[in-house]
Homo-oligomer: 328 residues x 2
């Protein structure tokens, strides 16, 4: 049995889509228990494996992250994180304020001893549909080379366990493929990664190759990772907009668009990284999954499944043994 | 009369496309003179305003930039840069080795006194077709906040003079729009830009808004700028690939594709930044334009026109007066 704590109040369409996702999840997975944190008056779930715990507060998208976590002690997000900290839950999922969730992860769940900085990891789509693990997408704007090395170690375990890749190729995002390319940070990180034995370092990868299955895990600092993520989002959206206006620009085009509609929608969903689940804060003493803020029930469901699988496989323990210093 | 020095030997399809572009340029612009540097046996141009100077060497894409510039003294690129340095030519254009051209700019043409780092600037497409000035796209992988401030000053002048925008909005690329967002570098740069009076600072802009006319000039460090550039390229290519395979996936789709073909090609060329000319190394004592390595004659022609306009308007002088310290 895996127990997952869920923040009922976070995200644009909460609690509606959260409850819908929870209902589907407990129906599909017979070994899943859920603790739902939030306003019990807004919850109509009645299920043997779903426990509702009433909270009087909620953290909003406008809340300043650290302050919210410190002050809103009875918020659904804080109490959810406490359930992971205490060991009552194996992991947690929220679609709320990302900064606040990261703070809850850091200050409540806590870091694995020896992990200097947790990193936010996401699976991004590739043309083939395979996808790749990308990190850090924004947990820490500044990073040192040693942090990038730890991200690589964490990402390697994540790809092995969650994505079932026996020997993942781990690459460093850079502005050239040669070892000597890059800024001070990536040049130093390249050498650190080259010297270690814990994972298969496949060298530098350029941003233009990301969608071509260049590597199973791609590591970068949180500033660059967040930048790339938003750029992908922006470009895909802009091209979509231009394509749409082309398809509507004449009567003959509209007819052609009608023929293509289904296939173009399939293509769009292939580009949508929400389909791959939420982002996970790695390096903590528990599983913390961020479902996308504009999640629909399907995306939130994926995030719950992700937390469940991570809990079952006990990836936190593997990270503690491999990257942490407690037993080292 | 404007005189432009041109490297006949640089780029994938040199000298063929270079000569084609030069012929068209001297035909279109009656006030343009060209000095062509390269192997005279490969040049069949016979025109009163085109002078050919024979060079016995050429710098290849494989050459190590700094070494090539120091050793290949009779290469077309070195001699072209020397013509700018001596004042004989107003500017120069090459589609050759980017690193070598930047080195030629730095070590032969030389920096404007007071400009700490030259920056590579490019005009990128937006959905509306307006485009924006983006820099640094890779002249310096590492940057300090003071460098970003100078990039902004240089970009402001470039947008005013070359893109005819009276009061350009100048933004800082960042991972959030609020002033407090970013890494150490962008936080500091934000404050420096906010404090100055020389240009209209419009704040932070996120990578997802770049193609929506978020600002006229967008400034970032060379590592991030190069990353974004390659990511744009990669995503556009990947989406194109996926779209193409969708269009060819069935007989009915192929028919629809036939109807759409012309409009989709127009859309592709709208996304192609080569259409906006080459990239320019700003902050030097002369105009140095890099035409894209895979340039066709049209793109090389755009780069020549760009150098010509920059020469006519004497943007180097404006930069010297505004950003330089010689008169300050």
């Amino acid at each position: 049995m895996v127990k997952i704590a869920i923040d009922m109040m976070g995200g644009d369409d909460a609690p509606g889509i959260v409850l819908e996702a929870v209902e589907k999840a407990v129906k599909d997975f017979k070994d899943l228990e859920i603790i739902l944190f939030g306003d019990q008056n807004k919850c109509d779930i009645n299920h043997g494996r779903v426990e509702v715990r009433h909270c009087t507060e909620a953290i909003t998208m406008e809340d300043e992250p650290v302050r919210a976590i410190k002050r809103k002690k009875d918020s659904s997000m804080v109490r959810m994180a406490e359930a992971v900290k205490s060991g009552e839950a194996d992991g947690c999922v929220s679609a709320g304020n990302t900064g606040a969730l990261m703070s809850a992860g850091l200050f409540i769940v806590g870091r694995i001893k020896g992990v200097e900085r947790p990193a936010l990891v996401l699976t991004l789509p590739t043309v083939s549909g395979k996808g790749f693990v990308f990190m850090d997408v924004g947990a820490n704007a500044d990073a040192k080379a040693e942090h990038l090395l730890q991200y690589a170690q964490l990402g390697n375990i994540y790809a092995q366990k969650i994505r079932n890749i026996e020997q993942p190729s781990v690459a460093l995002l850079n502005i050239g493929t040669e070892a000597a390319k890059g800024n001070t940070l990536t040049k130093k990180a390249y050498h650190l990664m080259e010297e270690q034995q814990g994972f298969h370092f496949s060298g530098n990868v350029e941003a233009k190759a990301l969608m071509d299955d260049a590597a199973d895990v791609v590591v970068t600092d949180g500033y660059t990772g967040n930048m790339i993520l938003k750029n992908l989002e922006g470009v895909a959206k802009s091209i979509g907009k231009m394509l749409k206006s082309t398809l509507l620009s004449s009567f003959k085009n509209k007819l052609a668009a009608l023929v293509l509609r289904k296939d173009l929608n399939d293509l769009t969903s292939k580009m949508d990284y929400a389909e791959y689940g939420g982002s996970v804060l790695l390096g903590l003493n528990g599983i913390v999954v961020k479902a996308h803020g504009s999640s629909n029930a399907k995306a939130f469901y994926s995030a719950i499944r992700q937390a469940k699988v991570a809990g079952e496989l006990n990836i936190v323990n593997t990270m503690r043994e491999t990257v942490g210093t407690e037993n080292g």
